[in-house]
Symmetry: C2
């Protein structure tokens, strides 16, 4: 399907069908494009920021701000991974420039010209379709806050040279290292179900496979039930175009699922009738349930972590110091976060900040007065399915199948904050 | 109060009082600071983005994206004003680099070192207080979505050489020109009421005045009732530090009020017993109601505007083309947005996108199939106070005292979109 001739044929076929069906979307694929207002404003000649850092056209942060993504240890050559600095996070938005990245087997995101980019939908459909970016942007849109989290976040997967993972839980020094493969954005785009309905999924279409335009042709399968539920074909991130390292010009957002399913630089969706395993499809586990192939490990479990204070920070003096953190669940909406400041003996409700949204990060705050003694602080979240974040002991007893364990920090008498996870037996 | 000696004395006094009162915040002003995790990560040597635009440490947008703030026409010399490009807006977040700016009588935002910045609270209070940025960040925080809108947004005020304004309504070519002095962010900081309660407002403290550390010492009054309500002393904007041109390192956010009250680079709040008029205090009107001075024109009225399609854009062909826009009210929460595509004869409900938050922009969408004929499209919003956006005729009949009028766009047979406001008689 990658050859130019074949694509052109499908394109012509899809346009013909599209234009003749008389649906609400008729005319969508017609020749011509929206004259962008960019044409006007780009005529202004942008100038570099002056010594105060002020760029009238597109602003930059203060040069006193130094919070940055960190590379994933041990992955400098292997992949272009980087971690969100949650120790500096505020509210629920991850600034797009600090969104985590985890890219496989190629060094840099592709430099895609959006005017040349197409999204093809084919396979077991009534009408193969091909969309330009302008055509996608005409369609019914949604804007939704969702987190994206790597399957290896909080576990050691991917951080060891052996790639075996699982052993580094108590080796993380900062919340950036332990939880930096999590970010939260407002994504804008078309519901994947809108596109699939337009194409018409045939009865035997039970899975889709999504392909990236990146150099590695990253490809992932997805059950049709999820594809028709709440997945987004997103061209917007936090009010502007999706960033290059996050899938420009358009990506899949699979709310609540493991990060690897959120295929970037989306160029092709094929509807198929069975599960296909790809190079990086290790994110889930297949099981045979009643003769049907079911994908488990697909949904991120309920989690939370204290970001302020967290590993590597210092509480400078006894007294009031607000505890803040993030909570999220791939299964739904956060209903409760509790905080313990006495090593887990007692728990008190934290305050949840509006908005509290499904499959999105929720900010919590908790008033705390430090008495100067060594203590352990930790948070545990409960989602609207009634699932509560498990302890690390429960996690290890469960063979690490769910990594949503409680993450404790120790505050020493000197005020320094350290990872307090027990060393696994 | 500006002399160094005086400040030092107040500082010493405030610390003495602060430390001895034994309140929940005791110890707050103690010497020492939180060792920032920045210290660790800034040791990494950031490298410039490569040819794909990928910066692992702090990402930038694709070089194919050219949406920028535009200067406010006629204000190049006068002020460093710039307008948000709402024609490209998505969801409810204004990217911080595209937040509008409107700065008086000085060219650039000050380059403030946050380690040297202090916020002084004094005047009619029991305990004058002075805070470092680190001390502010220890305190109870909130993160809230709020719009900031210049009092002159949608009107001609400030766009004419005479600064008289009011005559340019139908001269705006784009939604950036007509509505670009509006932006929406998630702001993180301390409630001003928290700080004022800590200082203890005396009985005769009925107003506050807030002063900026900018070169023009921008100063604004605010009634104590509003100050004790929902105002934020904000150090965070969209998940990171407030941007330089938006008040770094800390600013006042006065939800729902005219933009000029949101004092940037906040360094001083003085509690006083009467209204003081400052250079730019024209944003409201004082009235004597029952012997009490009341400030009217303080709250931004309910408004909405269609951003997609909008002036300067082109609908490339007949067929489905989603109408999208923003709605907001300084008085509360948007409850309803209606769209008319027949010149105002009939109105239908638009879809409001979650989250719908008080004194914040709400995104609405409306399915539309263009038949290729010349038509007029427009939106009207209603807030939870039951106030409905007025027509331009009502606005002009009211002598322009409320500028929340309905803003129509004309779509020509060629598909070009133009300002359709009637020329005032």
């Amino acid at each position: 399907m990658d050859s130019k001739d074949k694509e052109t044929k499908v394109k012509q076929a899809s346009r013909r069908r599209f234009l003749t069906q008389g649906a609400a979307l008729a005319g969508l694929a017609a020749v011509g494009g929206m004259r962008s207002v960019h044409a006007q404003v780009s005529e202004a000649s942008p100038r570099p920021p002056d010594e105060t850092g002020f760029d009238v056209y597109y602003g930059v942060r203060s040069h006193f701000e130094t919070s940055v993504r960190e590379r994933i240890p041990g992955q400098e050559v292997f992949m272009q991974g980087s971690l969100t600095p949650h120790q500096d996070s505020m509210g629920i938005i991850t600034p797009s420039g600090l969104h985590y990245t985890n890219v496989r087997f190629h060094q840099n995101p592709p430099a895609i010209d959006p005017r040349q980019h197409h999204l093809l939908i084919h396979g077991l459909v009534d009408r193969p379709l091909i969309f330009t970016m302008e055509e996608l942007k005409r369609l019914p849109s949604v804007s939704r806050f969702h987190f994206i989290e790597c399957t290896s976040n909080t576990s050691g997967i991917g951080t060891s040279a052996a790639q075996g993972g699982g052993g580094f839980h108590n080796g993380f020094r900062t919340v950036q290292e332990s939880h930096g493969k999590l970010s939260n954005s407002q994504w804008t785009g078309v519901l994947l179900s809108t596109l699939l309905r337009e194409a018409g999924v045939k009865k035997d279409g039970t899975w889709i496979i999504s392909e990236s335009a990146d150099a590695g042709h990253h490809t992932q399968p997805l059950p049709i039930e999820k594809a028709m539920d709440d997945c987004l074909v997103a061209y917007g991130q936090n009010g502007e175009a999706v960033r290059p390292e996050n899938g420009y010009p358009v990506r899949l957002v699979v709310p609540g699922s493991i990060g690897i399913n959120n295929v970037k630089h989306l160029r092709r969706i094929k509807v198929v009738d069975e599960f296909y395993k790809f190079r990086w499809s290790y994110g889930g586990r297949l099981a045979n349930v009643g003769g049907k192939t079911v994908w488990t490990g697909f949904v991120k479990p309920v989690k939370s972590v204290i970001t302020h204070p967290s590993g590597g920070m210092r509480v400078p003096s006894p007294g009031f110091f607000e505890i803040r953190g993030l909570a999220w669940s791939g299964a739904g909406t956060i209903r409760r976060v509790e905080v313990s400041t006495d090593g887990g003996q007692t728990w008190k409700d934290a305050q949840l900040e509006d908005p509290v949204l499904p499959k999105a990060c929720t900010r919590f705050t908790f008033p705390w007065t430090w008495n100067g003694q060594e203590i352990m602080i930790q948070s545990r979240a409960t989602d609207d399915k009634g699932v509560i974040q498990q302890t690390f002991a429960e996690y290890t007893a469960n063979s690490g199948s769910q990594n949503g364990f409680i993450y404790p920090w120790k505050v020493t008498r000197e005020g320094s904050v350290e990872n307090a996870l027990p060393v696994p037996a």
